[in-house]
């Protein structure tokens, strides 16, 4: 067994669950990492509590993940926090539906969440409500798709200026809209 199994803080996970018994699930510890599952609407409040009351002051990471086209809920948003005094980590995970994944923003709790949320938007099309400037960050502004979604092919779809339908979108890629929210099941995608 690997020696790296003491990264998480089970006590903090339990404390977080005790503070928000309705909004969070029992913390799960796996290979040393402690993950608390939380409902999207309460995510910001839970993370603020972890930051202000439990000492998880250092923002480490926030990113999306896709469980596959057929999964429901389909998307995860995972936030990793760190307690600089103890060095322990805490993972907070929230799940979002396949259609119109929306999650409240975290920029009011950690200003650094800004770029990380833009990246999750850029890659998965997860919309962060209340984000001050939700634009693409790594992909070009005119890119039509959300490339880390599972149905997007790894080799890409050729030159992205060519007219075609956008994956995860319901509009033609060339009509000037870049950020297209998926509002109905995808047609014509892979």
């Amino acid at each position: 067994m690997s020696t790296l199994t003491d990264h998480g803080d089970p006590a903090a996970g339990a404390a977080l669950h005790a503070a928000f018994p309705a909004a969070t699930d029992e913390p799960v510890t796996w290979h040393g990492d402690v993950t608390v599952q939380v409902q999207p609407a309460h995510e910001a409040a839970v993370i603020r509590h972890a930051k202000d009351k439990l000492g998880f002051e250092l923002f480490i990471d926030r990113f999306g993940a896709d469980r596959g086209e057929d999964s429901e809920p389909r998307f995860d948003v995972i936030t990793i926090l760190c307690n600089v005094q103890t060095g322990k980590r805490l993972h907070v995970r929230t799940t979002l539906p396949a259609l119109d994944p929306v999650c409240p923003t975290l920029v009011h709790v950690f200003r650094g969440a800004d770029w990380f949320e833009r990246e999750a938007w850029d890659m998965y099309g997860i919309r962060f409500e209340g984000h001050p400037d939700l634009r693409r960050i790594l992909m070009p502004d005119i890119f039509p798709d959300f490339p880390l979604r599972k149905e997007y092919p790894v080799e890409g779809q050729g030159a992205f200026a060519a007219p075609r339908r956008a994956i995860g979108g319901n509009k033609d890629a060339t009509d000037g809209h870049v950020a297209i929210i998926k509002t109905q099941p995808t047609e014509g995608a892979q």
């Binding site: 480490i60 060095g87 890659m123 880390l148």
Partner: protein, 407 residues
């Protein structure tokens, strides 16, 4: 800097200086790669700064989902391409955490040597380029002299100077060559004197001090809010080093100090890096003196046999090993279903890998947390109020690399 902030922008009568937008980068020499800064200037003073990134995006996370665990190792070379060995180590340890295996003690010690060589090499480049951006050409030439020595050492370790791909899950690609300890010993003996030379050029240099002290102050609060890690976080006065709080690869066996800044300005970050190089040399010395003998690949358990590649020399001479290699490379890795995160203390900060596995040979999600991504975001709070010439000082002190920022 207070002078700059209080500059009166009125230019007589009722005329006001107009805000000017300028693009710095993506080809500006002080942006070290392809960072673009959109600056809004009020005369010489920066009113607003917006870093624009993504010019080096190569879709590594997507690629990672489509390659086997081992196949992704070469891609980690190109994250922080100034410290590829450290990236290799971080990725291998993350995979081992997922799969629940360990590398043997000798491999762990060699990994520490690799990571510390990478740290020195990355800090040398950061320091040299930083000084050159502020007009001190000599430092750059001198640091490259030592970098050359380190690259020769790295070439002895793994045959490549730049794209090392040296680690394997559960161990290393090959053992150290016989002449390596002597060569590393010579380097470690010489290196502290070389750091004295750089410090002689800079640390008490009046121009250097005036360009860096009190410039680009990052407060503790900002550092935590923006998720700064590495020397940038420690420069702001927060004592946090993965090697101390969560030792991996046996860092707990080595004695070293973690330098902490007091003000959080460019000078503090510079000083942190300089001291870190000295401490890295100390770790190298200890790792070299206590280097254990033994295998470099884990052969302890049935799980390890299914996950870890056999020794390369055996593969080339022994049929069973060849079959073993084939099995591991094609289909026998049984990564458990689950997700782990591991962050390593890399030269630029915490390089983290979040691995989600649904079993089998590939990652379901391979998230790379590049420290430079977080470190660059703080620029929009730090730059406003500074003169435009201070941008170079601040950029150099953040010491970013776009490879891991854009991924």
């Amino acid at each position: 800097m207070t002078d700059a902030r209080t500059l009166d922008v009125e230019v007589g009568d009722d005329r006001h200086a107009e805000a000017m937008m300028i693009n710095m980068g993506p080809q500006h020499p002080s942006t070290h790669g392809v960072l673009r800064l959109v600056l809004e200037l009020d005369g010489e003073v920066i009113a607003k700064a917006e870093p624009v990134i993504g010019y080096l995006h190569r879709g590594k996370e997507k690629i990672g989902e489509n390659l086997s665990w081992h196949q992704f190792i070469p891609y980690t070379d190109r994250l922080d391409y100034l410290a590829p060995l450290a990236n290799n180590v971080a990725y291998a340890v993350a995979c081992e955490k997922l799969m629940g295996i360990d590398a043997p003690p000798r491999a762990q010690a060699i990994r520490v040597i690799c990571a510390e060589l990478a740290r020195i090499s990355a800090h040398l480049l950061g320091l040299g380029a930083y000084a050159m951006d502020l007009g001190a050409m000599t430092v750059f030439l001198w640091t490259f002299r030592e970098r050359e020595a380190i690259y020769s050492l790295i070439e002895r370790i793994c045959g490549a100077r730049f794209t090392t791909s040296y680690t394997r899950i559960g161990g290393l690609e090959r053992d150290l060559p016989e002449d390596f300890p002597a060569k590393l010993d010579a380097f470690v003996k010489e290196f502290p004197g070389r750091v004295d030379e750089y410090e002689g050029l800079l640390s008490r240099n009046k121009i250097w001090i005036r360009r860096t002290q009190g410039v680009g102050v990052i407060t503790k609060e900002q550092a935590l809010q923006y998720g700064l890690t590495g020397p940038n976080l420690r420069g702001s006065g927060i004592e946090f080093d993965q090697r101390k709080v969560h030792p991996y690869c046996g860092y707990e066996q080595y004695e070293f100090e973690v330098p902490i800044g007091s003000v959080g300005d460019c000078y503090d970050r510079y000083m942190c890096r300089v001291i870190e190089m000295r401490e890295s040399a100390r770790i190298l010395r200890q790792a070299l003196d206590t280097l254990p003998a033994g295998p470099i690949l884990n052969r302890d358990s049935q799980d390890a046999l299914k996950t870890v590649l056999p020794e390369k020399e055996k593969v080339l001479t022994n049929m069973e090993a060849l079959i073993h290699q084939f099995m591991v490379a094609t289909d026998s890795i049984n990564a458990p279903v689950g997700e782990v995160y591991f962050g390593a203390e890399n030269p630029k900060g915490e390089l983290g890998f979040f691995l989600r596995s649904d079993g089998g040979l590939k990652a379901d999600r391979l998230r790379i947390r590049g420290p430079s991504f977080a470190n660059l975001q703080v620029l929009r709070e730090v730059l406003p109020g500074h003169m435009i010439a201070d941008v170079m000082a601040i950029l150099g002190s953040i010491d970013f690399v776009m490879g891991e920022c854009d991924r």
